[in-house]
Amino acid sequence: MKSQASVLVRRIAIFGLALAVVGGTALGYVRIVIGGETLYWNSNTIGWQLSTPGWDDLSEDGSHRAAVRHGLESWENVYGSNLNFRFDGETSSTNFSSHSSHLVVADENNSTGFFPSGTGMVAVTPISYRLSDGRILDADIILNARDWVFSTDLSQGTFDIQDIVTHEAGHLIGLDHSPSLSSSMWPYVSASQWLHRSLSADDKAGAVALKPYGGDSRLNGRVLSPQGGGLSSAVIGIVNVHDGRQMTTVLSEPNGNWTVRGLEAGDYWVYVTPLEGGMGESNLTGDNPVDTNFSADFYGGYQSPYLFALAEGEIYSCGDWILPADSPLQDYLGASKQVHAGSDSTFTLSGSGFSPGGLQIRSKSPYITITKVGGGSSWRRVCATVSSGAPVGQYDLFFVHSTGFLDIAPGAIEVVEEAPSIQSLSHSVVSIQGGEKIQIHGNGFQEGCWVVIGGKEAVQSTWIDSQTLEVIVPGHDGGEVNVMLQNPDAQSCILRNALTYVAVPIFTELWPVAGQSNGGTKVLVHGEDFSSGIQVLLNGRQASTTWISSRLIEVLTPFGTPGGADFIFRNPSAADVVVEDAFLFVSSQDPQISDFTPSTGNGSGGALVKLFGRNLENPARVLFGVDSSTGLGGVEGEALHANAPNEIQVRSPHYRAGSWGVKLELANGQGVMAPGTFFFQPAPVVGGCAGVVGRPGAFQGWGELPSFLVLFLGAWILRRKKGVLVE
């Protein structure tokens, strides 16, 4: 039996004594009401920013980003609701007082002031609103990262970031706590709990109430006390007649009126129960009165409740219902019990007024059977057997006393899908670049599930079936990473160290593209992510390779038969990258350049340069201005002519000043870099406010200086020789 003191205080509440903290709702689902004003957002879309400081200790791999985003976005895409969140990027600001942005903050040093030592608070959502009409001006979610440990992988003793953010996001949008045990807005949370990640029907109804898009089906009515007055903040529960699921709960307005929005067409029962027990008036932060001076009942009574058939888009009035007198029955359920369809679960229910023998605990679902295992005046141990085929959702428990009194625990049982599990991946190694499509194999994958790989959400997930999911892996630094999968019902699983990111080389180009079949051609290969331990094979033969950088390697070709050859690039632990017919082995010997002269020319071009060497027949082009270390770039010289098999000549092109490489390409793709560099002298400055001012055409530039010097020196030497001879 309930203690006399407890009963007394409930009776005190009946007579309307002021309460310290009371709450209620206007049109349902426990919206925050302060001073008679219901808090609301002016816009359907709420922008938010992730405050970047403070998260590094919470999720080293950056997985908090996906967790926070999914926590907020869980309130979107609710049938009947227009509510949306818009991610406005990351910010270094932690200033929650600024109305210009709505932040999600990890406060690791109490910079916000909300977490002085000893508060015991895990997170807070301060809401700034306009007094005149309740319009929300700003709201920010602040996690107490100084005193608590958070995670995204349900590590023991840590608070789940997504779970916490989902709940706090409910406050942010203007919702108060919910009396439904399985609701994300249920006022209690434990470490490692994930239940709040996904919205219950109750929460979804709240999203509809906040931002309805109209056209939804509705039930409404009015609940009255035994004395005939309107009951304020009574819990109204809507039950699906056919499967017994609780569709949602709402609280009545101060005058007893209630409305449930966002219902689908169907047949429903309606019950009414006081807001007390595990979730009581003090868990609400608004200031509507809470009446508890009545006993629970169904519209039409528990045994034969009225059936309300609701058509699509219909607004149906259930009328008035007078509730029975208060009873000593009260349950103190603190959390819903999760059970899989086709299984059973034994658990203990606590409360008061459970006089032995006089109490039966029942479900109205044809899928759920409750059997008593044991009990006393303040507890019952029961076994809930859930048959296979039971729809996923929340189910109420009904405490039926032999005296006729009824107590209801809304959402006491939650039937959940099979928990997902990952067995294997199609790939064990992927490129650090990401973008590869891999398959995840396991069980219990639900449509709409999402995957986080190494802390980053997979770019794209394609649900194949309950055992197969295809995802595009995100880019990541090298190393082993975890793969986490979360179903829409918030159940998740992790396969640790499941995937290794390695640098898979990316081929861009090589030069020259052809070489002598007896090997020994020096080939410059360009690309990305070449490992210092990279191996290169041509047509399966190992090639001597010099690693220059992650973007350039130098390969000395092995022997090859004339014809096309495949290049294979092999980074340690990474999959081979094959480039088919990337190189051509030819029977002719590679060209060689032993020297060229002059090695200096005017930047404006025109210098006649002779190149000496071997196998210089059939030159296709000579490039000047080549990056001598990479072989890239350059401009083709002009007037190329083969003077002999060992000599060609070409005029230098116009090019910017500096020392640059020179390379020769033959018509068949063979080529060679010339030794040394060609120096392009700066072009003469003509006009301007500084420097040398010359007469156009009178001076061909400093590029001709060596010629002058040679002539001068030649004449001087000749004169000296002559002189000696004369002397």
């Binding site: 895990v122 434990s190 490692s192």
Partner: protein
């Protein structure tokens, strides 16, 4: 496993934890409250408490305590889970340390740290009502018994 209130996600636990975490415990009557708009735009309520029984920490006979939230300049700052304290109320309060910059104290575990003392009816004994419905705790307790428990717990923790 600890059960936590997720409003602003404050832990709702037993008296020993409350006493341990609180920096300031007192039985007080609220004799005044005013709202202040801080330079950073946040709103705080400055409560003036008349200490009936200082229990732990530095409690002045007339003590001013700043708690975030309130109304000022045409707007309000609402902290979900914060207990409502009105002038004339009689409480046993468990408050945290003071924030260094803002000088805020918060009720330990928000509503779990505020026990309101009530006179049930003329001639009847007084009770304390904690503004938190935790199934592990009775909603209502006898005032004298609770007060004795608090003092005993404080003394017990001091002696350790």
């Amino acid at each position: 496993m600890a059960t936590l209130s997720a409003s602003s996600v404050a832990e709702g636990s037993n008296l020993a934890d409350l006493v341990s975490d609180a920096d300031w415990i007192a039985e007080v009557e609220t004799i005044n409250k005013r709202f202040e708009l801080s330079d950073d735009g946040s709103i705080q309520t400055v409560f003036t408490f008349s200490a009936i029984t200082p229990m732990k920490g530095s409690v002045a006979s007339i003590d001013e305590v700043r708690i975030p939230g309130g109304v000022a300049a045409g707007r309000g700052l609402h902290i979900p889970g914060m207990p409502r304290i009105e002038v004339g109320d009689h409480h046993i309060l468990f408050l945290s340390k003071e924030s260094v910059v803002q000088r805020w104290r918060l009720p330990v575990r928000l509503s779990a740290g505020a026990f309101r003392v009530r006179q049930a009816r003329p001639g009847a004994g007084r009770t304390v009502v904690r503004a938190l419905a935790d199934q592990q705790e009775p909603e209502i307790q006898d005032y004298q018994a609770f007060r004795t428990q608090v003092l005993h717990e404080i003394a017990s923790q001091r002696s350790r």
